[in-house]
């Protein structure tokens, strides 16, 4: 995968795109968890959401840099 992408003449790292994709995925996952009322099984929902996002973003970023 290319490490930089051009957006209307503005160069930005692919990571930015990955960040947005990860955010969208995390949002969808969050909606899903909330819809099934699964958050009541967790002690710290905010931390869970953050960790999920970090996992998703990390996995996507690794696919670029590995």
């Amino acid at each position: 995968m290319p490490r930089e992408i051009a957006f209307h003449g503005l160069y930005m790292p692919t990571m930015t795109l990955m960040f947005l994709i990860a955010a969208a995925l995390a949002w969808a996952l969050d909606r899903c968890l909330a819809g099934l009322d699964l958050y009541r099984f967790f002690w710290h929902p905010a931390l869970l959401r953050l960790s999920l996002f970090v996992c998703l973003f990390g996995a996507l970023a690794l696919s670029v840099y590995r």
């Binding site: 503005l10 969050d30 909606r31 968890l33 909330a34 819809g35 009322d37 958050y39 009541r40 710290h44 929902p45 905010a46 931390l47 959401r49 953050l50």
Partner: protein, 729 residues
């Protein structure tokens, strides 16, 4: 030394613990918040420096701006800050593209844009307001420095968006993940406590123990809570999926709460009048029913209402509601034996009609509250949103003020070519935006100027005597920490919030080094002088140009409050009750805030609100009754009683638009006429209030009449004033 006996030791440890928990709940929360601000600020600063962003301080300022004690507020503010920054940057790029060659046109366009955004901020008054503020001053912040070299404007905007995004990310992360104070917990707590207070208020009122002052204060408190809870609800949507699933029910709960307070106020007003008229046998006839309700509510007063409690309340209330019609009939039979007059009978019926409606609404409220325990519930389906109402004149005044300040300062800058003129103009744009949403912009701007002055003095010492001696990021943090702690502490105290915000933001603007530190005392001093002057000009403008906390605006808001009756008469019936309640309360809440320190004005506003709510609510009930009438000749549109009600509506519109003794008299005649027409109409159903529409209509008409005649209301003062004038020689 002998050891303490065991119980004493136990007591000792208990005392210590209780003290500790008290501290943890009050001041402890503030200190956790300050610690979080510090952590988020340093994390952001480090990342911004590490990523070599051109202005790490912008990222750090973002942290100070968005950090709030509750994480939901941080999310909401961040969200709107991001949107506002995007909009502001886009507009700025457009303006630079259009007017780069011509400073005058650029400043003029910028002044108009900032004016529009400030007006928008005044209109919204919650975190959305903040998005408008930002859209305004981001344009100024990026545009004014870029004016000298327009080719860099686009990159400046991109960097700014990136810096702000970094600040937003770090602060939301810190506030949500580390020792979070959630808005949803605060909201649940407020909801649960509120019902306890209300139950106590109702039981006192039903037993006739409440005093006028206390009654008014509690009502003001309920209004503030209704407005505040709506704010919290809009914030928790960002924070908590659990609460988001319950969004409709929370909105409904608030609306139903407003409706039960109005109902209860109506009942209370009627009872108070009966007690004042010394109509003892009427009161005695009504009392047993009230006593039963008070006993039901006794178990819930003064304590938090949890969901299981609410379920219990639902059962008790439905039992009470079912037994009420039979009870009313037996009480009425007893009452008839005392041979009451026509008016007394009407009082009796109206009181029970109001009581029945109140219990019905209370039952609904309890059901909605109990439904919060479930993840899904039929009551979630609710489309009658809370509708805020703002006076457009107040918004226009704020917008005008902002444009004017920008034009004056911008002209001064162009005329004198002062190197720091750009700073002065952009700081004024920021201050006018930040202070526009507060009830007293003059005070806020002045406090910010004080904070900036402190920031300038501290910053000068740090910049020229401390920073040259230190090396590395950790030492920088150590040097910055005391200032940030002090600023965050001040910002968390409501009476010094402006000083704290000014200190934090403008200390960082001037005195936090970039990656490449520039030591330039001349421009440093010039810039700080420019900032303080910019803010003082804002404070002066806030005091001189159409100041919001003055007479003209109360008058306008009072008029708006009265016009709510017109809205109740002519608005579309669907969702009318809920939007009428919320608009009236929202207006009163604003006016009350603006009239702070003027108890007489506040009392007048509150009394107008009671009349407006009582009359408006009764009118809405009348309209609802008429909309669901069965098809029968007695209920036809052309019937005299329906015509009389329409005439009454018109006379009430006239009365509330132009309150005067003659209009009041006409209104009363119209109400009396409508009552007599209703009485003269025959009806095919039994004359009980649960079966007869006309009896209910008559009760509401009678209630409107008593509201207009209420000696406590401002309408009575109207009558008294003209009578006094007539009696005078």
């Amino acid at each position: 030394m002998t050891p303490l006996p065991a119980p004493l030791r136990w007591l000792h440890s208990l005392e210590w613990r209780r003290g500790f928990f008290d501290w943890a709940r009050s001041d402890g929360v503030t200190w956790v918040y300050i610690f979080k601000v510090l952590l988020a600020a340093f994390l952001t600063l480090w990342l911004a420096m590490r990523l070599e962003l051109p202005q790490p301080r912008t990222a750090m300022i973002t942290v100070f701006i968005v950090m709030q004690p509750q994480s939901g507020q941080v999310f909401a503010k961040s969200f709107y800050r991001f949107l506002g920054t995007l909009a502001g940057s886009a507009v700025m790029v457009l303006l630079i593209a259009l007017f780069a060659q011509n400073t005058e046109l650029f400043l003029g366009a910028l002044a108009i844009w900032v004016g529009i955004c400030t007006a928008g901020a005044t209109r919204n008054r919650n975190f959305r307001a903040y998005g408008f503020v930002l859209a305004g001053y981001t344009a100024a912040m990026v545009g004014l420095p870029a004016l000298a070299h327009p080719d860099g404007a686009f990159m400046a905007a991109v960097w700014r968006v990136l810096e702000i995004s970094l600040g937003i990310l770090c602060s939301t992360l810190v506030s949500a993940a580390i020792l979070p104070q959630t808005s949803s917990a605060a909201m649940r707590n407020a909801l649960y406590q509120r019902f306890g207070v209300f139950a106590l208020f109702v039981t006192d009122g039903l037993r006739g123990r409440s005093q006028r002052d206390e009654f008014e204060n509690t009502n003001v408190r309920f209004i503030a809570e209704a407005v505040g809870l709506e704010g919290l609800r809009s914030v928790t949507v960002f924070e908590d999926p659990h609460m988001r699933r319950r969004n409709g029910r929370l909105s409904r709960l608030n609306s139903e709460f407003m409706s039960i307070t109005t109902r209860f106020n109506a009942l209370h007003q009627l009872l108070a009048r009966l007690r004042a008229d010394e109509a003892d046998h009427v009161v005695a006839a009504i009392r047993p029913g009230l006593q039963d309700l008070a006993e039901v509510l006794d178990g819930f007063s003064g304590r938090a209402l949890t969901s299981p409690d609410a379920a219990r309340l639902v059962n008790l209330l439905s039992a009470y509601k079912n037994s009420l019609p039979a009870k009313v009939r037996s009480l009425r039979a007893d009452f008839q034996e005392t041979e009451p007059t026509e008016a007394e009978q009407l009082d009796f019926h109206t009181a029970y009609e109001l009581l029945y409606r109140f219990v019905d609404d209370l039952h609904n409220y309890a059901q909605t509250h109990a439904s919060l325990a479930d993840h899904r519930h039929a009551r979630e389906d609710w489309d009658q949103a809370y509708t805020p109402k703002t006076n457009w004149l107040a918004c226009a005044a704020a917008g005008l003020r902002a444009s004017f300040i920008l034009i004056v300062l911008g002209s001064y800058w162009v005329a004198t070519a002062w190197p720091s003129g750009a700073t002065m103009t952009l700081i004024a744009a920021a201050t006018v935006g930040l202070s526009a949403a507060t009830p007293n912009p003059k005070r806020m701007a002045f406090q910010m100027a004080c904070g900036t002055l402190i920031g300038a003095l501290v910053g000068f010492v740090e910049m020229f005597f401390v920073f040259p001696l230190i090396d590395g990021f950790p030492l920088l943090c150590v040097m910055l920490a005391p200032v940030i702690i002090f600023g965050a502490f001040l910002a968390s105290r409501p009476q010094y919030a402006g000083v704290g915000v000014g200190l934090l933001i403008f200390f960082s603007t001037g005195s936090v080094p970039d990656n490449l530190t520039v030591y330039n005392p001349y421009s440093f001093i010039n810039d700080y002088i420019a900032m303080v002057i910019g803010m003082l000009v804002c404070a002066a403008a806030g005091a001189i140009i159409l100041p919001p906390n003055s007479r003209w605006l109360w008058r306008r808001l009072e008029q708006d409050l009265r016009e709510q009756v017109v809205y109740a008469i002519s608005g579309k019936l669907k969702g009318l009750a809920s939007s009428f309640e919320s608009r009236t309360r929202d207006l009163l809440h604003q006016a009350y805030g603006l009239a702070a320190g003027q108890p007489q004005v506040q009392r007048d506003l509150l009394r107008w609100m009671f009349v407006v709510l009582e009359v408006g609510h009764a009118i809405i009930e009348l309209r609802k009754e008429q909309a669901i009438l069965p098809v029968h000749p007695a209920y036809a549109e052309s019937q005299p009683w329906r015509q009389a009600i329409r005439v009454m509506g018109r006379s009430l519109v006239r009365l509330f638009l132009q309150p005067s003794a003659s209009n009041l008299e006409r209104g009363l005649i119209a109400v009396d006429h409508a009552i007599s027409r209703v009485q003269a109409t025959d009806e095919p159903f039994a004359p009980h209030f649960d079966t007869s529409a006309l009896r209910r209509v008559k009760s509401y008409l009678h209630f409107i009449r008593t509201s207009l005649l209420d000696p406590q209301s401002p309408l009575a003062a109207l009558k008294g004033a003209t009578q006094g004038a007539m009696n005078a020689p």
